[in-house]
């Protein structure tokens, strides 16, 4: 009897979850949600960034790198987000191609410029860290080159979105390109293990635990969470802009049609 009752509850829970996901697929419902969530998300991001920056400023010098280790607190979150954003775009692309979710291509399109900015920052802060530590701004090794390719792919994707005027037609081509480009993510992650690179191997997410001392690990994790929340905030806001842009476009077409008639 209780098993049957549990099954009914499970079914109802699953139905409620499905219904709430369907509700979110409605752009109007999504706009209402972002209006409620965005101020909170922005405030939490600002607080965490302030804590992270304070911890980064007061972190001790490294015994080998000196104060240059402080670049790590901004380089690593940007590098992590450069890949995470492409991962988000890949999931959204699946949503476009498989489920034809109405917000999937909005999510993919609005994430691309943000991902490109994080990748650019990862490359430049890495370069500024490399000059004093490695003696060079740039080396054509596997890690650096694969991240540069990721940056170029972001730019290519943004160009593709702009080249096709109808967003729903651009969405399918962009989704295929994004999923093909996702092959670069494991190459970036494991490039330091597969090839002999100037870039160091993984030191935070690795089997056997982090090799970083807590004095560096804690500020780094706080900054990584803060930057991830910053991405979520900017992404939600950019998605809202994209929905409004499409609404403007369809209303302008309605206006043009009514004038022609």
């Amino acid at each position: 009897m209780s098993i049957a009752r549990n099954a009914v509850h499970d079914y109802q829970d699953a139905r409620t979850l499905t219904m709430s996901l369907i509700d979110l697929a409605n752009p109007t419902k999504f706009l209402a949600l972002t209006a409620r969530v965005l101020p909170w998300l922005a405030a939490i991001t600002a607080i965490l960034l302030a804590i992270g920056l304070y911890q980064s400023a007061t972190a001790p010098d490294d015994y080998q790198q000196g104060a240059t280790v402080k670049i790590m607190f901004i380089h690593v979150p940007n590098a992590w987000l450069s890949m995470f954003v492409w991962g988000v775009m890949s999931a959204a692309s699946l949503g476009t191609l498989v489920w034809r979710h109405p917000l999937a291509d909005v999510a993919a399109k609005s994430a691309a410029p943000i991902g490109a900015a994080f990748t650019f920052l990862a490359l430049v802060t890495g370069s500024l860290w490399g000059r004093p530590m490695w003696g060079t701004y740039w080396e054509w090794d596997a890690r650096l080159t694969s991240v540069l390719i990721l940056f170029l792919m972001y730019l290519g994707l943004m160009a593709l979105w702009r080249a096709v005027e109808d967003p729903s037609r651009a969405a399918r081509a962009a989704a295929v390109l994004t999923l093909v480009g996702a092959i670069n993510l494991p190459i970036i992650k494991f490039s330091v293990d597969w090839w002999n690179t100037l870039h160091q191997p993984a030191s935070v997410l690795r089997i056997g635990g982090s090799t970083l001392d807590r004095a560096f690990l804690i500020p780094l994790l706080v900054m990584a969470v803060a930057f991830t929340l910053l991405f979520l905030t900017l992404h939600l806001a950019a998605m809202r802009n994209e929905i409004l842009r499409r609404r403007v476009r369809s209303l302008q077409m309605l206006q043009a049609n009514s004038r022609a008639a």
């Binding site: 209402a32 402080k70 670049i71 920052l121 004093p132």
Partner: protein, 59 residues
């Protein structure tokens, strides 16, 4: 807080991140204003959505 002999590299990194993120935040904010202004103009010119709701109505 002493930044040692490579202070310029550290300061440049943080300054660049601050500038790029400020541009990104500014771009998103300006884009929002621009889209809501265009919707308001369309609303004032009498164009309504197929649902019959006002162009500027966000929910």
């Amino acid at each position: 807080m002493s930044l040692g002999p490579y202070a310029s590299f550290i300061i440049s990194s943080y300054a660049l991140v601050a500038i790029v993120l400020a541009v990104l935040i500014g771009w998103v904010a300006i884009d929002y204003r621009s889209q809501t202004r265009r919707l308001r103009e369309l609303d004032e010119s009498g164009v309504t959505r197929r649902s019959g709701r006002s162009a500027t109505e966000l929910s």
